[in-house]
């Protein structure tokens, strides 16, 4: 079974540039999450979807970050006008059903962003 796939693996930007990260979840997983993981810190939830609907985007810096999952499968996270503080690894994860039932969250290897 294929895991969660993310691309690109690495991106280096100058401040003010834009970048898009793409995620392909495990087939059949209805729930997709985007996390931001600064260096030496735990992952912090940005946004998550159930199918194509946004369930919670309250932690997404809405002025520069956006995320979509138009067909309820793949997802794109876009950062516009990047800042040095956005330097982090962006992790995509997927699950089948809600995590409060103990369903496992499967992570991709992440997209490492450096903003200089």
């Amino acid at each position: 079974e294929a895991g969660v796939t993310q691309s690109p693996r690495y991106a280096v930007l100058q401040e003010g540039q834009a970048v898009s990260f793409w995620c392909d979840p495990i087939s059949g997983h209805d729930t997709l999450y985007w996390y931001q993981q600064p260096r030496d810190q735990g992952p912090q939830l940005l946004v998550y979807f159930r199918d194509e609907a946004v369930i919670d985007n309250s932690q997404l810096p809405s002025d520069r970050f956006s995320a979509v999952r138009p067909k309820g499968t793949n997802s794109t996270l876009k950062i516009q006008s990047a800042k040095q503080g956005d330097t982090a690894t962006y992790l995509c994860a997927s699950s089948f059903g809600q995590i409060n039932s103990g369903n496992t969250l499967y992570f991709g290897e992440g997209s490492r962003l450096i903003v200089v």
Binding site: Q41, G42, L45, I55, L91, I99, N100, G110
Partner: protein
């Protein structure tokens, strides 16, 4: 709101010694706790999970027991190996904004020396 606390940022041990990584949590709901392990340049992977009070759960030589009385879910192993060197995260399922999310502690970097 809910929170997860991991007190050790860095733990360095010699191969063959026992280890305990601390995890405490705060929640108003019935807790579901997880341990994830992240090796260098790899995806975080589930190691253990539990929602049952006072029941030990084990996987790959690691074990943990959820103690609701002390709000703890410490990760232990009796004899660490070089391959155990990794970043370990404790996580809690949290109800927020009408839905369930997974919140993570800050992580503990375990380094095992020969």
């Amino acid at each position: 709101g809910d929170s997860v606390t991991q007190t050790e940022g860095l733990v360095t041990l010699t191969k063959g010694l026992p280890v305990m990584l601390n995890c405490t949590y705060q929640t108003t709901y019935s807790p579901f706790l997880f341990w994830y392990v992240q090796h260098l340049n790899e995806a975080p992977k589930l190691l253990l999970k539990s929602s049952t009070d006072n029941k030990r759960t084990e996987h790959q030589g690691f074990y943990a027991t959820l103690h609701k009385s002390s709000s703890s879910f410490h990760l232990q192993k009796s004899s660490v190996q070089l391959s155990d060197s990794a970043l370990y995260f404790c996580a809690l399922s949290e109800r927020a904004s009408g839905s369930w999310q997974l919140i993570f502690g800050s992580g503990t970097q375990l380094t095992v020396m020969p």
